[in-house]
């Protein structure tokens, strides 16, 4: 039972990171109906921004909570700008093209960031500085590190903030309207372009937060680190029902937990990376709308 709870906790922690990335996928998909393949790379850039900002800020502030919060905010802002920039330069000219064209372009952007990063920053992993001293905490039968708890709490706060933003603010309402029906929304005087930019900004900021949270726990980062988490977070978004914001959170947590349990069993652990995709195929076979998604009917 104790190992079960322990694994469950570890799974929650991994799932929190997937969930944060998945939120960006699902928000962009909800509005533009395309997979922003470059989203995993935004997560990578977030970690790198924090890395470089840390080398400048740590001598000034020293390690600690202040530095952690500052770096988190800097990375989120930088990636929000990056997300909006990508949308402006690459996706906007393609707005009315077939979805496949946009999808291929997104793969291009993703490769560009990966290999541009690799050529520019070098392929060697870099050690992320320690921001918060690591300590072990006992929560009943579960052994956790304080860093894992920081991840869970930060994720929870960000998700609640997102929930508030989407449900209670005017811009969030506009976002929901655009995702419901683009034409009708613009007839009601909503500036679609602005809503789309804000969506990219918010989604990218969340991915950057995931990147920083990952970096403080697994202290090396490299330019290709976004590939796998990006793909798996997409699976998480589909798992929860793509376009559905609470769904992405649930999907991320489910995927994190399933993967952790699979990694813990000797039979399945060699296939750990394949499990997410196996899960995706099964889900698409039996419940293509996702766990929280609604079945949609295609109109001719």
């Amino acid at each position: 039972m104790d190992t079960f709870l322990q694994q469950l906790f570890n799974g929650l922690f991994l799932g929190a990171i997937y969930a944060l990335i998945a939120l960006g996928y699902t928000m962009v998909y909800g509005i533009l109906r395309f997979i922003n393949f470059a989203h995993g790379e935004v997560y990578m850039v977030g970690a790198y921004v924090a890395y470089f900002a840390a080398s400048m800020l740590l001598p000034l502030f020293g390690a600690g909570w202040l530095a952690f919060l500052l770096l988190l905010i800097i990375a989120m802002l930088a990636c929000a700008l990056l997300g909006v920039g990508i949308e402006w330069t690459v996706y906007r000219p393609l707005r009315h093209r077939p979805r496949l064209t946009v999808l291929i372009t997104a793969i291009g952007v993703s490769l560009f960031l990966q290999y541009g990063g690799q050529s520019w920053l070098g392929a060697a992993p870099r050690a992320f500085p320690t921001l918060l001293p690591k300590s072990t905490v006992s929560l009943g039968p579960v052994q956790a590190t304080n860093l894992q708890i920081v991840v869970l709490v930060t994720t929870l706060v960000l998700m609640l903030a997102l929930r508030f933003f989407v449900m209670k603010t005017k811009l969030g309402k506009a976002m929901r309207a655009v995702s419901h029906n683009v034409q009708a929304a613009s007839l009601m005087g909503i500036n679609n372009d602005r809503v789309i930019s804000v969506t990219f900004a918010v989604g990218s900021a969340l991915a950057a937060a995931a990147g920083v949270l990952y970096a403080i726990n697994y202290p090396t980062i490299n330019p290709l680190m976004g590939l796998m988490p990006g793909l798996k977070a997409f699976v998480a978004a589909v798992l929860g029902g793509i376009g559905n914001i609470p769904g992405a959170a649930v999907g991320g947590l489910v995927l994190g937990i399933v993967e952790t349990f699979a990694g813990g069993s000797p039979l399945l652990s060699p296939y750990r990376d394949a499990i997410a995709f196996g899960l995706l195929v099964l889900l698409l076979l039996f419940k293509p709308g996702g766990l929280l998604g609604k079945a949609t009917v295609e109109k001719v």
């Binding site: 009315h96 999808l103 291929i104 490769l111 290999y115 690799q118 394949a274 995706l280 195929v281 293509p288």
Partner: protein, 325 residues
């Protein structure tokens, strides 16, 4: 010019004759350029077969390298691992060894086709972008399985494949793939593929079984990719799972995009030009991939139909306008 179009029998015969000629004079050619040429021929087969799925049928597969891996590893087990257990096969020489290799390659293609069928059946009911992810996931699953299999060499890879890939086999595979794919989409049956791409709902309503078209395109594409994988492995004489990763799939997708989706001739030319071109750029190292990425983005924005693409893209563009209106 009609007789040299990609689907005429004359082209096939000329191509096969050229393959034979190349085989005869290959002893006098520079080995370096010959090998690049053979790699180009393999890339032609890969690009043409992916074009059948991505270009003509309008699906988007990101797992072509996975099929290659299945073909390469299946054929390699027949030519490299099996002889260790069966001395009868180890004793094969000369022509009979070549025949055994052709047989292994066909079995490799068959295994890849079977995988294509297994992936295709459930996932081809999905729309474009989901399909892309499932095929990508399939490629990853294949890679992970090979990596954790000790018999197949695991992550270390499998070395000591006999150097059986000859100029004749490479060029004939390329020519035959062009012939098969070129003819398939020109046949009345193959028109269903184009109809599936241009408007799935309309195609269904006039009685085209779109799911079957998609699965068939997938299976044929996978079969050719599997054979190409076998030739690839026996040309390099060493295979490991990371050669058949996501990047290899992307490389093939780029060939199809540049050549023009839905143009067999276009993607063949792109495959040859890019193979030689990239070989010249070898000293650029990792910047090669950056150039790849930029090529994709620029082409998609400026000329999404590629250098020699057909009307398919135009048509789907008007369709999306109609939807937007």
């Amino acid at each position: 010019m009609r007789w040299i179009s990609e689907h005429s029998r004359t082209t096939l015969l000329i191509g096969l004759a050229l393959a034979g000629l190349l085989q005869l004079i290959s002893g006098n050619l520079d080995v370096y350029y010959l090998n690049i040429g053979l790699m180009a021929a393999i890339h032609v087969a890969l690009a043409v077969s992916l074009n059948l799925v991505n270009g003509y049928t309008g699906q988007f597969s990101l797992g072509h390298a996975g099929f290659m891996a299945v073909g390469a590893y299946t054929a390699a087990s027949l030519t490299t691992i099996l002889p260790e257990a069966l001395p009868a096969i180890a004793g094969l020489k000369g022509f009979s060894l070549q025949l055994w290799f052709v047989f292994s390659t066909l079995v490799g293609g068959g295994a890849a086709a079977l995988c294509g069928f297994l992936v295709g059946m459930p996932s081809l009911r999905l729309r474009g972008d989901y399909l892309a992810i499932v095929t990508l996931g399939f490629g990853e699953i294949i890679r992970v399985f090979i990596q954790s299999s000790d018999t197949l060499g695991g992550a270390r890879g499998l070395s000591g494949l006999p150097p059986l890939t000859s100029p004749f086999t490479c060029v004939s595979l390329a020519v035959i793939s062009i012939y098969i794919c070129g003819n398939l989409v020109k046949s009345t049956y193959g028109l269903g593929y184009l109809a599936t791409r241009d408007d799935e709902i309309a195609a269904e309503s006039v009685g085209v079984n779109t799911t079957r078209c998609k699965v068939n395109a997938f299976v044929v594409g996978a079969f050719i990719a599997g054979m190409a994988g076998s030739l690839y492995g026996h040309l390099l004489q060493y295979i490991n799972p990371s050669q058949f990763g996501f990047l290899k799939s992307i490389e093939i997708v780029v060939l199809v995009i540049l050549g023009g989706m839905g143009s067999t001739l276009g993607v063949s030319i792109a495959a040859v030009v890019m193979t030689f071109g990239l070989e010249q750029m070898r000293n650029l190292n990792e910047w090669r991939m950056v150039i790849y990425a930029l090529l994709i983005i620029v082409f998609m924005i400026v000329r999404p139909q590629g250098v020699m693409g057909t009307l398919g893209v135009e048509r789907s563009r008007t369709k999306s306008k109609r939807k937007a209106a």
